[in-house]
């Protein structure tokens, strides 16, 4: 029971790190980025290559799994995404689906279509028990890292100059621009960080979620659920949404294996019907 809860929390935290960038890009530039999972996959594969092929320690590979997708993200933002902000949602969907198809085929070509596993250090394998509950060491590590990230993000958003610029730009890009905030630069940085976070999530989650070329397609719906349910106006919304989703998914798969993912999709549709702006949004109609 509690083991499921811990697993669910770890899973939800992972989902948050994977998806929080999406809520920023959606809220900031009104961009529907179905290719968000591509960056997560990039981070995952970067970590696998670094650890398995080059024999780097896991702890060194993780930051690099942030840097590589962030670099890819900033390049793509400057060269490609920049052109589609002003386009209709339909075109954004087509464009990003196109990117997903290209990424899936490219990874398939380079790394093969089979699932890859990351070689974890011995210290992270196995379980230890707290008050008689078995907790996987790796799960605990995920919870700790993701928890720190959440705290860090919250502090950056709430306390720093950049954070307030970002919040201003999300709330109303035109006014923010009028006040002299360089929204384009803010967005480029946010895009890079969100890609990097996705990549870090992909690397951390390679063990739990599985990593294969179909990754962006398989998890696209989960990212979208987090954003749709959590709303785009804060990071607490997506955070709570991911925790809910993670726990519901793990518990659902454990207790109702026959129904599987069915529960989650139904909840999502119910939430969207009841509150199209998301469960935790402030209800600012945009």
């Amino acid at each position: 029971m509690l083991t499921i809860l811990v697993d669910g929390i770890a899973y939800g935290m992972l989902l948050f790190v994977l998806a929080c960038g999406l809520s920023v890009t959606l809220g900031l530039m009104n961009l529907i980025n179905l290719a968000h999972g591509v960056f997560a996959m990039a981070g995952g594969y970067a970590a696998v290559v670094l650890v398995n092929r080059l024999g780097m320690p896991f702890a060194v590979a993780l930051p690099l799994a942030f840097v590589v997708p962030a670099a890819i993200g900033i390049v793509m933002e400057r060269t490609l995404y920049r052109h589609i902000y002003a386009k209709s949602h339909l075109e954004q969907v087509l464009f990003t689906i196109g990117l997903v198809f290209m990424a899936v085929a490219t990874v398939d070509f380079v790394a093969g279509s089979q699932q890859v596993f990351i070689r974890l250090p011995k210290a992270l394998e196995g379980q230890f028990s707290v008050f008689g509950i078995g907790i996987g060491k790796y799960r605990l590590l995920i919870i700790v890292i993701c928890g720190l990230l959440v705290l860090g993000l919250q502090i950056v958003l709430a306390r720093t100059r950049f954070g307030s610029q970002l919040r201003a730009a999300v709330d109303d890009p035109r006014t923010a621009r009028g006040l002299g905030i360089d929204v384009n630069t803010v967005f480029a940085i946010a895009f890079a960080v969100s890609s990097g976070l996705a990549g870090l999530g992909g690397a951390l989650g390679a063990e739990i979620l599985g990593l294969d070329p179909q990754f962006p397609l398989k998890f696209m719906i989960y990212f979208l659920i987090v954003v749709a349910v959590g709303g785009t106006s804060s990071i607490t919304g997506p955070f709570l949404a991911s925790l809910l989703l993670g726990i519901a998914d793990v518990a659902g798969k454990y207790y109702l294996p026959k129904l599987g993912a069915f529960v989650i999709y139904t909840i999502m549709i119910a939430v969207l019907i009841g509150r199209p702006q998301g469960l935790f949004s402030r209800g600012t109609g945009r």
Binding site: H89, V93, I97, F101, I221, L224, A228, Y265, I269, I273
Partner: protein, 333 residues
């Protein structure tokens, strides 16, 4: 109420609508060529059947996207429901006559379309994307879990389709299947054309252009959207049923996300909002897919993605200019 008061106005509107709905010579040519393939290309009937079915499916999405402005990422839900319904009807001998089974499958899909249409009325584009995607994923999950009924991941096997109209058996070369698919496509196309050129179709255009204004001039927006969504679902269901009947097989693949995504590509390739976009797109898509699959069997999706990205970056408007010539042949603005 005002009908007797403005007879001249009514007459001129009727005249305008009549002129607008007239068949153009290019349309006759299109269908003449399509009919000619029945006789002239007997060796290609299998792939032509696929094109006809894809064209019908794309026509169905065009009714939503091109004429009503509803984005859907889950149109495969209705296609898949129709496909499984037709398969189950045939397998268990519930409705053995293919044409009847086709209609029944379309009706089932229409029911699902009607039920879910209320979900797409609310919210923004993103909400619509999510809801349509969610519905199709739920259906796929159901088909996967209830493997006793649907065969799960192995697909629905052991389907034998009775002869068409109790007379024409489906042959291995796909000739009966192609004739059947073309007949269904043509009939449904004519129906769609009537719908689009009717006053109802005009009001859909108004809803697409600006829902708020449309409701201000007295169009009940929600009723229009529910109706067209239901019709489009029926079309997609019939397309799915045709696929099952002509291939005598049905798998989870009919409900996949890729099918919905591919469908968008088909429609974008052909252009939206002039009825022939789906059909032309289906021809282009299948030819390109066939060619790419021959050149790079495993990685054709890459080039498909590249085409998509290029289309968006170049701008559909500019692409539209290329198609404008073709379009003006068919529809006079």
């Amino acid at each position: 109420m005002s009908a007797p008061a403005y007879p001249i106005l009514i007459a001129s509107v009727a005249q305008y609508l009549g002129r607008r709905a007239r068949w153009r010579s290019a349309e006759y040519a299109f269908w003449a060529i399509a009919a000619a393939t029945l006789v002239l290309l007997p060796g290609k009937h299998l792939i032509l059947t696929e094109i006809a079915i894809l064209g019908l499916f794309a026509l169905s999405l065009d009714l939503l996207l091109g004429f009503s402005g509803i984005i859907s990422l889950g149109h495969a839900a209705f296609f898949g429901l129709g496909a499984y319904a037709a398969g189950l009807f045939a397998k268990h001998g519930l409705i053995s006559e293919p044409v009847l089974a086709l209609l029944a499958s379309g009706l089932l899909a229409a029911l699902l379309g009607f039920a879910t249409s209320f979900l797409v009325l609310r919210g923004s584009d993103l909400t619509r994307l999510m809801v349509t995607l969610g519905v199709s994923l739920i259906l796929r999950e159901l088909a996967n879990r209830f493997d006793g009924l649907t065969g799960g991941a192995d697909g629905l096997q052991g389907i034998t389709i009775a002869p068409l109209l109790a007379r024409f058996a489906f042959d291995i070369g796909g000739h009966t299947g192609y004739l059947y698919s073309m007949a269904v496509l043509f009939v449904l196309f004519v129906v769609a054309r009537r719908i689009i050129y009717s006053p109802f179709g005009l009001s859909l255009g108004a809803v697409k252009g600006n829902p708020l204004r449309a409701s201000a001039v007295g169009i009940s927006v929600n009723a229009r959207l529910v109706t067209i969504y239901t019709i489009a679902a029926a079309y997609a269901g019939i397309a799915g049923a045709l696929l099952t009947q002509t291939t005598q097989f049905c798998s989870l693949d009919v409900l996949s996300f890729e099918r919905s995504a591919d469908l968008l590509i088909v429609l974008i390739l052909g252009g939206t909002g002039y009825l022939y976009g789906g059909l032309i797109g289906a021809i282009l898509f299948k030819l390109v897919q066939d060619w790419l699959a021959a050149v790079t069997p495993q990685y054709w999706q890459f080039w498909l993605g590249l085409v998509l990205v290029a289309i968006v970056l170049m701008g559909r408007e500019r692409m539209g200019a290329w198609f404008a010539a073709a379009r003006s042949l068919i529809r006079r603005e």
